[in-house]
C-alpha cells in the first residue's frame, strides 16, 4: 500500500502558505492573476488531500507522524511536527474543499474590489493556518496556528475597514476570542507544568489522561478541561462568548462561508475533539460542555427567529449548530460531533455562498426588502433550498443524519438535553422556512433588478448542494462507517426509531408553520409578537447580551483604561524618558571620548586598565 501522500501531508498546508508569501511579495504587480495563483494553490492542496484520503480509505492505514526537535533548553524540549490520522485527513478534505470553492466563488464575488490580491492572500493564509492546526501533533504548534487563524479572521472581518461597522466588528471578534485564547493558553501552561516530561503532544496527552488516568488529579484535570473549553467557546462562538460571530458578518460574504464552515469556528470543536481524553477524565467538564452546547443551540436558534439580516440569521444558525456539536461532545459522542461538523461544513458554506449570491444581485442584506427572487435566480434558489432542508434536518438530507446521530446519543445519556435539542431543531426549521420564503417566494420587488450570478459563483453552489444531499450517508444508524473509519472501532450505534421520527417530525412541523405564516398567510406574521411584544423585542435585541457586556465590562474597563492612561503618561513615561535620557548621556560621553585624537584613545585605554586592575585585583591586596 502506498503511503506517499500520508508521508508528505505537510505539503497540503504549505501550498496556501506559499501562495500567501508569493501574493504578499509580488503584491500589486500581479493584479488579477494573483487571485488565480491562490485559487490554483488551493486546488492543488484539495487534490493532495483527496489523494491522501483515497490512500487512507483503502484498509487500515497506519497513523503517521513526524517530529522535529526545535529547541532544547536543558532537559526541556520544544518540538514541532505533524500527525496524519483519519481524523486529520477528514478535516483536511473538508477544509481544502470549502476553501477551494470559496476561492473560486470569490473570483466572481470580489472581482471589482481594488484590494482583491490582498483578499486572496489573507484567504490563503487563513486556509494554511487552519490546515496547519489540523495537522499539528502537539498543543504548542496547535496554539500557534490557532492564533494565526484568529489574526486572519481579524484581517478578513475588517477587510472593508473603510466601514466603521467592519472595523468595530473586527475588533470585537479579536477581543472576544482572545478571552477564550487566554483560557487555552493557561490550560497549555498548566499542562506543561503538570504533564510528565513537559510533553504537550497529543499522543502523550492520550496516554496520560486515557490509558494511565490518575497521574494528574481530578480537580486539576477539570480545571484544564474547562480552560480548554473556554478557548473552544471563544473560537466556536458558544454562549457567552458568541457575541462576535454575528457581528463578523461585516466581512465579505465568502469569508463568512469560510469562517462558518471550515476554518475558524470548526477549530473550537476540533480542539475539544483533539483533547477529548482530558474531558472524558472529568465528569464536571463533560456536563459543562453538554449544557453549554444545548443551551447555545436553543438560545441562538431563538434569536435567529427574529433577525432581519440574511447573514445574521445564518450566523445565529451557525452558533446554534455548533451548540449541537458541543452537546454531542458533552454526551460523549465524538463521532456525532465530527459527523455534524462534516455535514454542517457543506450545507453552511452552501447557505452562505447562496446568501452571497443574493446579496451580490440585490445589494441589500435585509430580508424584508427581498422577495420573489426565486424566479430570477433559479439556481441560487434551488441550491439554497437544499441547504435549508439539510440544515432543518429533513430526511434524507445530510443534516438529518448528523443531527439524528447527536440527538439519539443525547436521548440515551441526558434526556432533558435531548428535549432541548429537539425544540432547537423545531426553531431551526422555522427560521430557515422564514428565511427561504421571505427571500425567494412572494411577489418580486419592482425596483430590484435581480439577476443570476456568474457561473464561477454558481458552480460552487451546485457542488455544495450535491454534497449537502449525499454527505449524510457516510454515517447512518444502519451503517456506522464514519465512526468506524475515524476511530477504528465499531460504534455502538443502534437504530432509535423514536428519535428519528421525532426529529423529522419537529423539523417538518417547523417548515409547515413557516409555510403557513410566510406563504399561505393562515397564521398572521405578528401572531406572537402582537401578543407578546416583549418577547419579540428581547429576541430582536439578542437577549440584550451586548448591552449587558457593555454595562458590565466595557464601561468599567474603559474607565480603568482612562486611569491607566494617566498612570502611563506620568509614571511610566517618566521612567522611560529618564532611562532614555541616561542612555543618551552615555552615548554623549562616548562621542566626547571619540574626538578623533588617537592620544585620547590611548589615554582612555590606559585609564580603563588602571581602573580595572585597581578595582578588581587591588581589593585582594588592600
Amino acid at each position: 500500500m502506498s503511503t506517499f501522500f500520508t508521508e508528505n501531508a505537510w505539503l497540503v498546508p504549505v501550498l496556501p502558505f506559499a501562495a500567501f508569501v508569493v501574493l504578499t511579495a509580488m503584491g500589486k504587480g500581479l493584479k488579477q492573476s494573483g487571485a488565480w495563483v491562490a485559487t490554483i494553490a488551493s486546488f492543488v492542496s484539495l487534490v493532495l488531500s483527496l489523494c491522501l484520503a483515497s490512500e487512507r480509505l483503502s484498509g487500515n492505514a497506519a497513523d503517521y507522524s513526524r517530529q522535529y526537535d526545535w529547541i532544547h533548553i536543558g532537559n526541556m524540549k520544544l518540538s514541532a511536527g505533524y500527525e496524519v490520522t483519519n481524523l486529520s485527513t477528514l478535516m483536511l478534505v473538508v477544509v481544502t474543499l470549502v476553501a477551494f470553492l470559496v476561492n473560486l466563488y470569490s473570483l466572481g464575488y470580489m472581482k471589482k474590489d481594488e484590494r482583491i490580491t490582498t483578499f486572496f492572500s489573507y484567504v490563503a493564509l487563513f486556509t494554511g493556518s487552519m490546515l496547519g492546526l489540523v495537522l499539528s501533533d502537539n498543543l504548542l504548534t496547535f496554539y500557534i496556528f490557532w492564533e494565526l487563524v484568529g489574526v486572519c479572521s481579524f484581517l478578513l472581518v475588517g477587510f472593508w475597514f473603510q466601514k466603521p461597522e467592519a472595523k468595530a466588528a473586527a475588533k470585537k471578534a479579536f477581543i472576544v476570542t482572545r478571552i477564550g485564547d487566554l483560557g487555552l493558553l493557561i490550560a497549555i501552561l498548566l499542562l506543561f507544568w503538570y504533564m510528565p516530561g513537559h510533553a504537550l503532544d497529543f499522543t502523550a496527552l492520550h496516554n496520560v489522561f486515557h490509558t494511565q488516568s490518575g497521574v494528574i488529579t481530578t480537580s486539576i484535570t477539570t480545571l484544564i478541561a474547562l480552560l480548554i473549553f473556554l478557548g473552544a467557546v471563544g473560537k466556536s462562538g458558544q454562549f457567552p462568548l458568541h457575541v462576535w460571530l454575528p457581528d463578523a458578518m461585516e466581512g465579505p460574504t465568502p469569508i463568512s462561508a469560510l469562517i462558518h464552515a471550515a476554518t475558524m469556528v470548526a477549530a473550537g470543536v476540533f480542539l475539544v475533539v483533539r483533547t477529548f481524553d482530558i474531558f472524558e477524565a472529568s465528569q464536571i467538564a463533560m456536563n459543562t460542555v453538554a449544557i453549554i452546547g444545548a443551551f447555545t443551540a436553543i438560545f441562538a436558534a431563538m434569536i435567529g427567529l427574529a433577525q432581519n439580516d440574511i447573514k445574521r440569521v445564518l450566523a445565529y444558525s451557525t452558533i446554534s449548530q455548533l451548540g449541537y456539536m458541543m452537546l454531542a461532545l458533552g454526551v460523549g459522542s465524538v463521532t456525532g460531533a465530527m459527523f455534524h461538523l462534516f455535514t454542517h461544513a457543506f450545507f453552511k458554506a452552501l447557505l452562505f455562498l447562496g446568501a452571497g449570491s443574493v446579496i451580490h444581485s440585490v445589494h441589500t442584506q435585509d430580508i424584508r426588502e427581498m422577495g420573489g427572487l426565486g424566479g430570477k435566480m433559479k439556481l441560487t434558489a434551488w441550491t439554497f433550498g437544499i441547504g435549508a432542508l439539510a440544515l432543518s434536518g429533513i430526511p434524507p438530507f445530510s443534516g438529518f443524519w448528523s443531527k439524528d446521530a447527536i440527538l439519539s446519543v443525547a436521548m440515551d445519556k441526558q434526556p432533558i438535553l435531548f428535549i432541548v435539542g429537539l425544540i432547537a431543531a423545531f426553531f431551526t426549521a422555522l427560521y430557515m422556512a422564514r428565511l427561504f420564503f421571505l427571500v425567494f417566494t412572494g411577489k418580486p420587488r419592482e425596483n430590484q433588478h435581480a439577476h443570476e450570478s456568474p457561473s464561477v459563483m454558481t458552480i460552487p453552489l451546485v457542488v455544495l448542494a450535491v454534497l449537502a444531499v449525499v454527505a449524510g450517508f457516510v454515517e447512518t444508524p444502519f451503517n456506522g462507517w464514519l465512526g468506524n473509519w475515524l476511530w477504528g472501532e465499531q460504534s455502538e450505534h443502534n437504530v432509535n426509531g423514536l428519535v428519528m421520527i421525532l426529529s423529522a417530525a419537529v423539523a417538518l412541523l417547523g417548515l409547515y408553520i413557516g409555510w403557513l405564516t410566510y406563504v399561505k398567510g393562515t397564521i398572521r406574521r405578528d401572531a406572537i409578537s402582537s401578543r407578546m411584544p416583549g418577547l419579540l423585542k428581547l429576541l430582536e435585541n439578542k437577549f440584550y447580551i451586548d448591552e449587558l457586556y457593555r454595562a458590565l465590562f466595557v464601561k468599567p474597563l474603559q474607565s480603568l483604561g482612562k486611569a491607566l492612561e494617566l498612570f502611563d503618561e506620568y509614571v511610566v513615561d517618566g521612567i522611560v524618558r529618564a532611562s532614555g535620557y541616561s542612555v543618551s548621556a552615555i552615548g554623549k560621553l562616548n562621542s566626547r571620548l571619540q574626538n578623533g585624537q588617537v592620544q585620547t584613545y590611548a589615554l582612555t585605554a590606559l585609564i580603563g586598565i588602571v581602573i580595572l586592575i585597581v578595582a578588581i585585583a587591588g581589593r585582594r591586596f588592600w
Binding site: 529547541i71 571619540q594 585605554a605
Partner: protein, 516 residues
C-alpha cells in the same frame, strides 16, 4: 621538555591549509607585479577566492580525519606539531572554517563592486586578504605564546595596509595611521603580559606554562595579576571592547567597506580564538590555594563584556554614519561574544564554546550581509549616512527585505540566528547564576532595537532623493541572499547546528592543551 621537533614531510598535510594560503599569497603578489596595468585586477580577486576555497577544502578534510577520542573512532583527536607549538584540533578547524568562509564571502561580494577611483590598488586589496587570513588561522591553531603572537602580528600588519588601500582618500590614511598606533600599543600590552608569564613559569608553551603555574601562584601572585590584566587590556583593544574601542569607529569608517567587514568578522574572531587559547589554557587553572586569581581575571572579562554592551549600544544610538553605527554595534556584539568565556568566573559550563561559536557564525553572516548591503547602497548614493538608506524599499524591495532580516538578527529578534545565539548565551548566564550580566545583555538588546529600527525606518518610511532602481552587482546580490538565508536557517534549525558543533568539539582535546 622534548627536543625541538623539526617539520617533516608528513607534517605538511596537517599544515596544508596554511601552506596553500601562503603559496597563493606569494604567487598572487608576483602576478600583480607582472600583470600589465590594463588587465582588470578582478582576476586577482577570483584567484584569491580560489586560494581561500582550496584552503577551506583542506580544513574540511582535516576536520573529517580527526577522531573524537572515543573508541569508536580511533583516529587521533588532535595532532601536535613542532613540539606542541602548533596544534591541529577541532577548535582551530571550526574557527578556520568560519574565517575562510567569511573571507571568501567578503572577497566575492567585493568583486566588481569596489570602484577603481576609490581603491587604486585593487590587486593588493584582494591578495592581502590571504596573509591576513593566514594570521587569523595561526592564532586559532597555536599552542605556544610566540606562535600566537606571530599570527597576531601577521594579521595586524596586513590589516593596517588593508585599511590604507584607499590611497587617495585622506580619511583612509588617517584611519590606517590610527590603527597602526592603537594596534601597536595593543600588541605591546599583550607581549608585555606574555613576558611576565614567561618570566614566572619559564616557558612560552601553554602546556608547560600550565605545569609551572601552580608553584608560581604561591610566589608571584601580584605578577600574575599584572600579566593577565595586561593581556586583557591588549585583547580588549583588538576586540574593541569599551573603553578600548574608540579606534574602531574611525578605522571602520576609513577602510573600504569589504575591509571593514573583514575587520569586524575575521580579525575580531581571531582575537577571540587567541583569547580562548591562552585563557582557557592558563588563567582558568590559576587557582592556587584561594582561587582568587582565576575568579578575578574572569570577572575582569565579564566587566569588560558588560561595559562593551552598554557603551556600544548607547553610542550606536547617536550615530548617523552607518559604518560608525555598525562599528559600535560591533563593540556591543564583542561584549556578547565575550560573555561565554567570561562566565567561567563561577564554574566551568561545558556549553561555553558552542554558545560562542554559534553566535559567532550568526554574527559573521549578518555582518557580512549588512556590510554588503551597505557597500551597494553607499556606492549608489555616494555617502555612508543613514539617509542613503532612505526609501530603499521603494527602489529595491527584495534587497530591503533581506536587509530587514539581517537587521532583525542583529537586534536579536526571532526567528533568526541572532536571536538563538543571544538566547543560548543568555541561558549560559542563567546556568552559571551570573544574573547581572544576563540583565545587562537583555537591557542593551532592548535598547539596540532602537538602533536597528532607525535603519529599517529609513528604508521603509522615508522617501529618498533617488527613485531609480538600485544598481546591484551580481556577486554582492548572491552574498546578501546567502547571508540572509543562512541567518534564517540558523533561526529555524538551531538544534542540528548546535548538535553538530557539540559533536565536533570536545573540551578534553581542544581546550585542555596540557593534556597533549
Amino acid at each position: 621538555m622534548e627536543a625541538l621537533q623539526t617539520l617533516t614531510w608528513s607534517d605538511t598535510w596537517y599544515l596544508s591549509p596554511e601552506l596553500v594560503l601562503s603559496g597563493f599569497a606569494i604567487a598572487l603578489a608576483l602576478l600583480d607585479l607582472f600583470l600589465p596595468k590594463q588587465v582588470n585586477r578582478n582576476v586577482i580577486g577570483w584567484l584569491t577566492l580560489a586560494g581561500l576555497i582550496c584552503a577551506g577544502v583542506c580544513v574540511v578534510l582535516l576536520l573529517l580525519s580527526l577522531g573524537d577520542g572515543t573508541e569508536v573512532n580511533s583516529a587521533e583527536p588532535f595532532h601536535s606539531l613542532l613540539g606542541g607549538s602548533y596544534r591541529i584540533d577541532n577548535f582551530g578547524n571550526l574557527l578556520k572554517l568560519v574565517f575562510l568562509g567569511s573571507a571568501g564571502f567578503i572577497v566575492f561580494s567585493s568583486l566588481g563592486t569596489v570602484k577603481d577611483e576609490d581603491v587604486p590598488i585593487k590587486g593588493e586589496m584582494y591578495y592581502l586578504v590571504l596573509p591576513a587570513t593566514l594570521g587569523a588561522m595561526v592564532m586559532s591553531s597555536s599552542g605556544d605564546l610566540l606562535t600566537l603572537f606571530v599570527g597576531l602580528e601577521l594579521l595586524s600588519i596586513t590589516s593596517y595596509i588593508l585599511v590604507a588601500v584607499r590611497k587617495n582618500n585622506r580619511i583612509s590614511s588617517e584611519a590606517a595611521f590610527k590603527y597602526v598606533v592603537t594596534g601597536g600599543a595593543a600588541s605591546a600590552f599583550i607581549l608585555y603580559g606574555m613576558s611576565f608569564l614567561y618570566g614566572i613559569t619559564g616557558s612560552t608553551n601553554i602546556a608547560l606554562i600550565y605545569d609551572g603555574l601552580n608553584s608560581a601562584i604561591e610566589n608571584s601572585e601580584a605578577l600574575l595579576y599584572i600579566s593577565f590584566f595586561l593581556m586583557i587590556a591588549g585583547f580588549a583593544v583588538k576586540l574593541a571592547l569599551a573603553p578600548f574601542h574608540a579606534w574602531a569607529s574611525d578605522v571602520y569608517q576609513g577602510a573600504p567597506t569589504p575591509v571593514t567587514s573583514f575587520l569586524a568578522v575575521v580579525a575580531k574572531g581571531a582575537a577571540f580564538a587567541m583569547l580562548y587559547r591562552i585563557f582557557m589554557g592558563t588563567a582558568f587553572f590559576a587557582i592556587g590555594s584561594t582561587g582568587f586569581i582565576q575568579k578575578d581575571i574572569f570577572l575582569g572579562l565579564a566587566v569588560l563584556a558588560a561595559a562593551a554592551m552598554i557603551v556600544g549600544t548607547a553610542g550606536a544610538l547617536r550615530q548617523r554614519n552607518v559604518k560608525r553605527l555598525l562599528a559600535l554595534s560591533g563593540v556591543a556584539n564583542a561584549g556578547i561574544l565575550l560573555t561565554p568565556l567570561a562566565l567561567s568566573l563561577t564554574q566551568f559550563h561545558t556549553s561555553m564554546f558552542s554558545e560562542f561559536i554559534y553566535y559567532f557564525i550568526a554574527y559573521a553572516f549578518m555582518n557580512i550581509g549588512v556590510f554588503s548591503v551597505l557597500t551597494i547602497v553607499s556606492r549608489d548614493s555616494g555617502n555612508e549616512t543613514l539617509s542613503g538608506f532612505a526609501g530603499l524599499y521603494h527602489r529595491a524591495p527584495w534587497t530591503a527585505a533581506a536587509a530587514v532580516v539581517l537587521l532583525c538578527s542583529l537586534a536579536g529578534l526571532p526567528v533568526t540566528g541572532g536571536f538563538f545565539g543571544k538566547l543560548f548565551i543568555l541561558f549560559g548566564t542563567i546556568q552559571t547564576h551570573t544574573y547581572w550580566l544576563g540583565a545587562i545583555m537583555l537591557a542593551t538588546t532592548v535598547v539596540s532595537y532602537a538602533v536597528y529600527f532607525t535603519l529599517i525606518r529609513q528604508m521603509f518610511m522615508r522617501s529618498g532623493e533617488l527613485d531609480t532602481g538600485l544598481k546591484m552587482t551580481f556577486p554582492a546580490g548572491i552574498t546578501i541572499w546567502i547571508c540572509t538565508i543562512a541567518t534564517l536557517a540558523l533561526g529555524f534549525f538551531p538544534v542540528p547546528i548546535l548538535n553538530w558543533i557539540n559533536d565536533v568539539f570536545s573540551i578534553q582535546f581542544d581546550f585542555l592543551v596540557f593534556r597533549g
